[in-house]
Symmetry: C2
Subunit: 371 residues, 2 copies
């Protein structure tokens, strides 16, 4: 297969933000909660993470219209003890329950040094790093994990059991950007396969296996097999223990435990979004942790140490042909500078989806921009 | 190279424990602290992790005799606020300061739901999983990370900057063993190279690169180059971003931040154990977190959910040629059953080291066992 050309148009950040805002508003999300949801999505586009920004809007749109996400987020507080709380998201918007959960963790950390909120019965919450950044913006360390519908096989296995189960972690620094790690515990996620499909390009070996543990490289076939549960993503480290695959798998299991066991929530096959061929809520769980840095040490010292770690890594000896060593958060920061200036790239397939939503919701203002 | 035969003898667990105990005692570690150190080392052997048990005794022995580890552990409490504390280990035994630090985190978690202790100026603390198991034995989630002397190159780099920086995480379950993940964020550590050297076997590609980013496969050469800092371990995910190497590298950086920034402690090149050709303390940092499960949810529900996650993974579809899917902690549990019955395997090289210590410390009782 040859890598095909994908047509891209660029749109002003404000125009994309207003589109997301209006779609969510017309779908029945209350205005103050729309602001949270639109912020999380646009932040993803601003970090160059196309898979979780306006590119995901149609997914939320479909799920709300199918009745499997409740546009009105009602949070039930199950337990609350000192630094800890457990919440039920009652199948509302993942972004809304998560924004409030991380805020609650931050408030608890202000009091006790640490704060943690575990959430069940939620939905896809967008980029995990949005919520950890809420903590680092307040001079705290932020950590979050979430489970997801099963798509990753355990080491020695071929059945999609665990989700892409990301880990996100933010820490403030005295660099021009904060340390922000946000990564799936699988090597890649579905979004990367969709990109390869659009480009008509081969998928690298080591990303996906079929149910005979053979590597799959045809993106169209992979997308089909993901639906029939006969393809699995591989954990970081790949298929074999010799390359550390059991470590990626172990980390994914940690994420599953933190996202389900602490909440007495749903897990693994229960998160497939389907029951007897019928679409049902995803019932995802999330975990949030905030740590107040100034309870541990002097805040400026922390920022300086973290900054030094980042700078020394950036300045370390390069491999032949590589001119730069990046630290987590750096590429996204650099992309953000470009995107704020040049706009958000939107490809033909996405533009088509956007116009479906514009037509169905009769968004006359957006029609002028995106038509 | 051919895989050579390594001669092994087996010794009773009690005999090995008594050896470790007496060596530490004669080196000047106070008796109640010897108990902690010997427990941590023997637990490693009992889990089949040969690299961190009696196999490491000579390393501690050398460092104490070289004056770079203080056999008497004096802990200075730097900060203490509600759920958080920061300690200075004053270059004492890593096991001792870490045992007390995790205990303190557990006590704080009993009160606040969460507890965390950050430690600086410590030493190699043995298997990280020992300390997380302290928490899971008390129906808590335990997490610890530690930095280590630089040996891992960042993505796009060839300079050993980060340590093998392990992450350990324990959670109680209703299985016959608890979930226990304990893994370096590098694919492997030095111990695995030493095993290959003893076996006269090739090191798999993808584990180690030289300072031109070429894979190294000769274990003797790797051990030499590690000393001259011209070889680097690769992070989980390997050298390239396409295989997820930046994720292993990012996780290793998180561990460095939690082990140094929170403590205003030492990091990366400062942890080399050498200054101007002179041996100096390693000044390692650790981070401990305990989370009280019953503050989040019903303890039995937690154990059942975690157990279900483990069982469903174990029972999931196997890859051709694989008869079993393991969960983290399972292989070590199974090895422990065997080792308790059959004894701890000790190879010729280690037996030689043991006898050096026995002779130099004049341990007459041990001479009868290990000669």
């Amino acid at each position: 297969m040859n890598k095909g050309l994908v047509k891209m148009k660029k749109f002003a950040v404000d125009d994309v933000y207003n589109l997301i805002f209006d779609v969510f508003l017309v779908l029945g999300i209350p205005a103050d909660e729309v602001k949270i949801c639109a912020d999380v999505l646009i932040e993803s586009d601003l970090r160059g993470i196309e898979s979780h920004g306006v590119g995901r809007l149609k997914m939320y749109y479909d799920r709300i219209r199918d009745g499997i996400i409740n546009p009105i987020t009602k949070i039930t507080k199950i337990r609350d003890h000192a630094a800890i709380a457990t919440w039920d998201g009652n199948n509302g918007m993942g972004q809304v329950v998560s924004f409030h959960a991380m805020n609650e963790a931050i408030q608890k950390a202000k009091k006790y040094g640490l704060g943690s909120v575990a959430v069940r019965n939620s939905n896809h919450y967008g980029i995990a790093g949005y919520f950890t950044k809420m903590a680092s913006d307040q001079n705290m360390i932020g950590l979050t994990v979430t489970n997801a519908r099963p798509s990753m096989a355990p080491t020695n296995g071929v059945e999609p059991m665990l989700g892409t189960n990301p880990i996100a972690f933010s820490a403030p620094s005295d660099c021009e950007f904060d340390f922000l790690f946000d990564g799936a515990t699988s090597i890649i996620q579905r979004g990367k396969i969709e990109v390869k499909a659009r480009e008509n390009a081969e998928v690298p070996k080591n990303w996906v296996i079929d149910n005979k543990a053979e590597y799959m490289t045809d993106p169209q076939q992979i997308l089909k097999n993901l639906v029939s549960q006969t393809a699995s993503f591989l954990p970081i480290g790949g298929m074999e223990e010799i390359s550390g695959g059991h470590k990626g798998y172990g980390l994914a299991t940690i994420v599953e435990i933190l996202s389900a066991s602490l909440q007495t929530g749903s897990f693994m096959h229960q998160l497939s979004g389907s029951e007897g061929g019928k679409k049902v809520p995803y019932k995802l769980g999330h975990f949030f942790l905030a740590m107040d840095i100034s309870a541990f040490t002097d805040l400026n010292n922390f920022k300086h140490t973290t900054g030094e770690i980042m700078r020394q890594l950036q300045n370390s000896a390069k491999a032949p042909g590589k001119d730069r060593v990046y630290v987590a958060g750096e590429k996204e920061y650099l992309k953000g500078v470009q995107i704020r200036k040049n706009g958000i790239p939107i490809n033909d397939a996405l533009l088509k989806n956007i116009n479906i939503m514009i037509d169905e919701l009769r968004l006359e203002k957006q029609k002028k921009v995106f038509r």
